[in-house]
Subunit: 207 residues, 2 copies
């Protein structure tokens, strides 16, 4: 029997955990902090999870799944908006792409730590790889379509996907390290454009 209360409790614990992990760092966070922020006692935690590690994984999985969903939605919106008209050039495609890809400091911190943590455990490494694949997979259709719209095709979508994820990760850090400075953001967009250009070619037959 799975009560409604339980679901809500679990959910609140997850939410407060993100905040606590982001503030304190995962390793420095305690069960008490997470529970206190959520308005529960430790009993609630131990009734729902075995260890903080388990909660950490649950948080990460939920949030990155959400992230993928949000991206997919944003993509679909763009496709509808720009259904008829040509998006123009690669810069235009990149602009749309970047609008759909959030760079959130809180989440960046948490997932950077999760990454470092996960590298220690083979099964967690697999989770990471899997997630990256999912991100690439949910991005690809939109991106390929948008590029086709401006007369470009991608010979090796897998390679492009991996490249874009890498570029996103790397530049996100730079943007967050220098908050307020627009320069890293411009360079980020430029790098995306260059990479996408390099990984695609002009289609032979253009509509």
């Amino acid at each position: 029997m799975v009560t409604k209360r339980r679901i809500q409790t679990r959910q609140r614990l997850l939410e407060s955990a993100v905040a606590v992990f982001a503030e304190e760092g995962f390793g420095r966070s305690t069960v008490e902090q997470v529970c206190a922020r959520a308005g529960y006692s430790r009993g609630a935690f131990y009734s729902n999870f075995e260890t903080l590690d388990e909660l950490f994984l649950a948080v990460w999985e939920q949030r990155s799944a959400e992230l993928i969903t949000r991206m997919r939605e944003a993509f679909e919106d763009f496709q509808q908006d720009t259904a008829g008209d040509v998006a123009g050039d690669v810069e235009g495609v990149v602009a749309n792409l970047l609008r759909a890809v959030p760079v959130d400091e809180e989440w960046f911190r948490v997932s950077a730590e999760f990454t470092a943590h996960a590298l220690r455990y083979p099964e967690l490494r697999r989770v990471i790889v899997e997630r990256e694949r999912a991100i690439a997979a949910s991005t690809a259709p939109f991106l390929l379509a948008a590029l086709a719209g401006i007369g470009r095709t991608v010979p090796d979508p897998g390679a492009l996907g991996q490249a874009l994820v890498a570029v996103h990760d790397g530049t996100a850090l730079q943007c967050l390290s220098e908050p307020g400075d627009p320069e890293p953001w411009r360079r980020r967009a430029a790098l995306f454009s260059h990479v996408i250009t390099a990984y695609s070619v002009e289609s032979k037959e253009q509509s």
Copy 2:
């Protein structure tokens, strides 16, 4: 008065700290663990540092300074080796570049966590940005020279530097997530090539 013993103690603590941080994660590491591994008691630690945070910063600064030094040396070796002969193409330059840029899992974990940690404190953010600049600065001369050797010039070295750092960070994670698989490494090299190509142009007058 600064004793020799003290210097050695400090150094050993730094070394054991890297190992402990990499194994346990920074947040989970304790003063005791660091001291035990180094063969000291906690007294030694408190005599040399105020807090674990301070040690963490010291570790990070020392190691990343070393990293820069090692890269610079590797670059100089290459320049001597390939003094006369043309390096060939961009792929050749990238091959040399990547040979000089280490991807070390232990260090990756530590610095990923340090990054996440540092994002919380403005003054640590500055340290990170500064370090990134130093890396770019120490790489640039070699890279520009090597490119000049194959008849390419870089209009905006700053942008290229930032792009390469981002690409390095992003792809390093991918390579470490899938140990044993050579594919990420190939793609990493390919991405470097594409980026360098995109950020450089053929020189008008070629020697």
